[in-house]
């Protein structure tokens, strides 16, 4: 098996990509995707440590995170639909009420 460090690197990379997506993208759908990526990165780290320590608690927690991510995605999409209905756009820059 590979050293845990490599898994953590991957996890970190995924997390950074996800964060970049959340912070930098204008399209709300892409932001939601980024959030999913972050959660998945956390999941991966969780599983890597679980494997390293031989403890199945990590696996259990990963299941929880998956369920949570699903629920959260549902809610997020509902918000997105609301946003679209209100603003006719899902471009976050345009949807802001603040003056340019």
């Amino acid at each position: 098996m590979l050293p845990t460090f490599y898994y953590l690197c991957l996890s970190f990379a995924l997390f950074v990509i996800g964060t970049a997506g959340v912070l930098l993208r204008r399209n709300a759908l892409i932001v939601l995707m980024g959030i999913e990526l972050q959660l998945n990165a956390g999941n991966l780290a969780m599983l890597a440590f679980s494997r390293q320590l031989g403890d199945e608690k990590g696996h259990a927690f990963a299941f929880l995170i998956i369920a949570l991510a699903a629920a959260e995605a549902a809610v997020g999409l509902a918000i997105l639909v609301s946003l679209f209905r209100a603003r006719q756009t899902i471009n976050l820059d345009e949807a802001s009420l603040m003056k340019r």
């Binding site: 964060t19 912070l23 930098l24 603040m98």
Partner: protein, 743 residues
């Protein structure tokens, strides 16, 4: 004693104030008759009370310092305790009588004089207000109460001078009066402060008892007794209020006000406040004859100076104004030579004849359709007989013709000046000097007043036809008070016949009355008295005859020749020696420029641009910065969140070290302790101690303490590196130590 103590002195000023309040609030809706009834009634009531107090109650109470009425405790601050209290003794009683009686007469006169004025009620309201303030001034038991009255009359003077304020000139005259007064008031305040500092009290009774040799007031202060400085500062206030050099300039301009105002305020009452103040504080002034010398010399100089200006004035009221300034100078010579009784005596006689003269002026101006230009008068003797008769009596009184009141009072002052002994060796020349100046001034007085008389009442009329047709005598309500004043001017002096004259000191009723307040009458030897009476009479008659030669029946040859021979001099005198212009150039212009400079620089630049604008700019910049944090962009918020979280993680995983390494040096052995105070780190940190900073750790282990012995002395640097095995992070800390040099 009981009746005297319970006499409500407070009613005397209160009634006029009440009248003023009623007239201010409701006057506009009242009929003219009601307005006069309220105003004159208030004064009449005050007069009645004054007379009752003075003649019925005062004689018993006079030994105990007079009637007293404490209204309430006004100021209680540490050592300073001032009550709102009134006291009537002989001096203030006499002045009360003058103010209320002459005030009443003038109210009656004004009822007729201001008949056609639309602001009738406002006039009488102010007049009542003035009387109330003047009574407060005179009846005040302590200096602050007097000062309240002092300021009050200053205010009323301003209001009444500028009564017809729609004319800018009148408003300016009012401003000038008030501001000049204010300068004097500054001196008065300083005097009050000095007095309090020296004696700790401001009550007249206590000041009087403290004015003895050996008290704080006689103590040396910068070379002169304290009383000198107090008296000097207070006298500056008197110069402002009583129009002496250099603060007299407001009084001639004050003639812009209605004539009853000039008569009441600028002749009979307000301007005498300074004389009253000096007389009231006579004991204090007597402690410092030097300041009395200053008072006397200023008075004499003013008397002479103003008399000369009066020679060339062409406005009726201006002549009388300068005459007032001059006569006030006489009064100040009186009090300045220690002859307080004579100063007050002249105040009393002057009130009558000057008020009479001013009311005659009003009558004449009324007849001449509002003009006061004497170059266009003449021949009014037959056309305004009553006014002429009154003017005649008052004129003879002011010239000092025997038997008339002015003769006795003026003579008392002059004789007293020569006979005074209050000055020591060094200042003994002051008495004769001021006496001589007054004799010349008396001659001048006789001259210019006679000039006025002859130009106005004798000879053919120089007015144009239109005006001549309108000349008429004044109505009864104006003539009545005139006559009463004339009687006072004529006979009033008989209460003060000096003791030395006929060898009957008890005939000097006034002197006896006043002695309880201002000290005994100055003893003038009989022959000195007779001598000066003779000289005064001669000067008075001389002045009259000289004036007749110049102006009897109109402008005669001598007058015309003189005017032709010295035109510039005549013009200079007519321009009042251009003192106003001098003040304008020397004082007012620089002040204006200075305040302009301040305005431009301090106000515009410093305050508006720098401070106000600057504060706004700072707020603006800070606002812009903080606004960037809240752009409403959710992603920006998340970015801040992410950065914050990363920073938290970073700092949480560093191992902790104390901010300073604890180093114990003993000899060449050093023990180092790198544990954080109070918290034992239980996480198994690894410490590496590098004792000479060569990159190679001498001691490593899990203990935060280490010991090492150096081979050589000098300066060493200890570097401690601590590693956290779990996070694989490390921190450093350095410390430099000095060891005693050794091998």
């Amino acid at each position: 004693m009981n009746a005297a103590e319970s006499f409500n002195l407070r009613l005397i000023p209160l009634l006029p104030f009440l009248g003023a309040t009623i007239l201010i609030l409701f006057g506009r809706r009242m009929k003219r008759g009601t307005v006069v009834a309220v105003a004159a009634g208030a004064i009449a009531a005050a007069a009645f009370l004054s007379f009752t107090a003075f003649f019925q109650f005062l004689p018993e109470a006079v030994e105990g310092g007079g009637l007293r009425d404490v209204v309430w405790k006004w100021i209680q601050a540490g050592n300073l305790s001032i009550d709102l209290a009134f006291r009537m003794d002989a001096l203030s009683g006499l002045l009360c009588l003058i103010i209320t009686f002459i005030g009443f007469l003038i109210h009656l006169y004004a009822a007729g004089y201001m008949e056609h004025d639309p602001d009738y009620a406002r006039f009488f309201a102010y007049l009542n207000l003035f009387c109330g303030a003047m009574l407060v001034l005179v009846l005040g038991d302590s200096m602050p109460v007097m000062f309240v009255g002092w300021e009050g009359v200053g205010l009323c003077s301003y209001l009444l001078i500028g009564f017809w304020y729609t004319e800018t000139a009148n408003a300016n005259a009012g401003k000038k009066a008030f501001i000049t007064n204010r300068i004097g008031d500054f001196g008065f305040l300083i005097g009050m402060f000095l007095l309090f500092q020296a004696t700790g009290t401001l009550r007249f009774s206590e000041i009087g008892s403290l004015s003895t040799v050996g008290s704080a007031l006689a103590a040396n202060y910068h070379g002169m007794p304290m009383a000198f400085w107090v008296g000097l500062c207070l006298f500056i206030g008197a110069c402002g209020k009583s129009a002496q050099i250099p603060l007299y300039v407001w009084l001639p301009d004050a003639m812009a006000g209605p004539t009853p105002v000039s008569a009441l305020i600028h002749a009979a009452t307000m301007v005498t406040a300074g004389v009253y103040m000096v007389a009231r504080l006579h004991a204090l002034y007597m402690l410092a004859p030097a300041v009395l010398a200053i008072v006397a010399i200023t008075g004499a100089a003013t008397a002479l100076f103003a008399a000369v200006i009066g020679f060339a004035q062409n406005d009726f009221k201006k002549v009388l104004a300068y005459s007032t300034v001059s006569q006030l100078g006489f009064m100040f010579v009186g009090v300045g030579t220690g002859n307080f009784t004579s100063g007050v005596f002249h105040l009393y006689t002057h009130a009558f004849f000057k008020a009479g003269l001013f009311l005659c002026a009003g009558s004449i101006m009324h007849a001449m359709s509002g003009s006061g230009d004497i170059t266009k008068m003449g021949g009014l003797r037959k056309l305004t007989p009553w006014t002429h008769a009154v003017f005649l009596v008052c004129w003879l009184a002011i010239c000092g013709v025997p038997i008339f009141s002015g003769f006795f009072s003026k003579d008392a002052i002059v004789a007293g000046a020569f006979a005074t002994e209050i000055y020591g060796e060094g200042l003994a020349w002051v008495g004769p000097l001021v006496g001589s100046m007054l004799l010349v001034a008396a001659l001048g007085t006789a001259f210019y007043m006679s000039r006025l008389y002859f130009l106005v009442f004798t000879g053919p009329s120089r007015a144009d036809h239109e005006t001549q047709h309108h000349i008429h005598e004044s109505p009864g309500i104006m003539v009545g008070p005139l006559v009463v004043l004339a009687i006072g001017a004529g006979l009033g002096g008989l209460v003060g016949v000096p003791g030395g004259l006929f060898g009957h000191p008890e005939w000097n009723i006034l002197g006896e009355w006043l002695s309880t307040s201002v000290g005994p009458e100055l003893e003038v030897p009989h022959h000195t008295e007779m001598l000066f009476m003779g000289i005064s009479t001669a000067l008075a008659l001389g002045g009259i005859f000289l004036a007749q030669a110049f102006y009897g029946g109109g402008y005669r040859e001598p007058a015309k020749k003189f005017a032709a021979a010295f035109p510039e001099f005549v013009q200079l005198v007519r321009d009042k020696f251009r003192i106003d212009e001098l003040y304008q150039a020397v004082i007012i212009r620089p002040l204006r420029l200075f305040s302009q400079a301040l305005f431009q620089f301090v106000d515009r630049v410093l305050i508006d641009q720098l401070l106000v604008g600057g504060a706004a700019a700072v707020t603006d910049v800070l606002g812009r910065l903080t606004r960037a944090l809240q752009a409403g962009d959710g992603q920006r918020y998340m970015a801040a969140f992410a950065i914050g979280a990363a920073a938290l993680v970073f700092f949480a995983t560093r191992p902790t070290l104390p901010s300073e390494l604890k180093v114990n040096v003993s000899g060449s052995t050093v023990s180092v302790d790198a544990s954080r105070a109070g918290r034992q780190s239980a996480r198994g940190l690894t410490y590496a101690f590098d004792f000479d900073d060569d990159g190679r750790a001498e001691v490593t282990g899990t203990s935060p303490e280490a010991r090492y012995t150096y081979e050589r002395g000098g300066s060493h640097t200890i570097r401690v590196t601590v590693t956290d095995p779990r996070w694989h992070t490390e921190s450093h800390i350095k410390s430099t130590i000095e060891l005693g040099g050794q091998n």
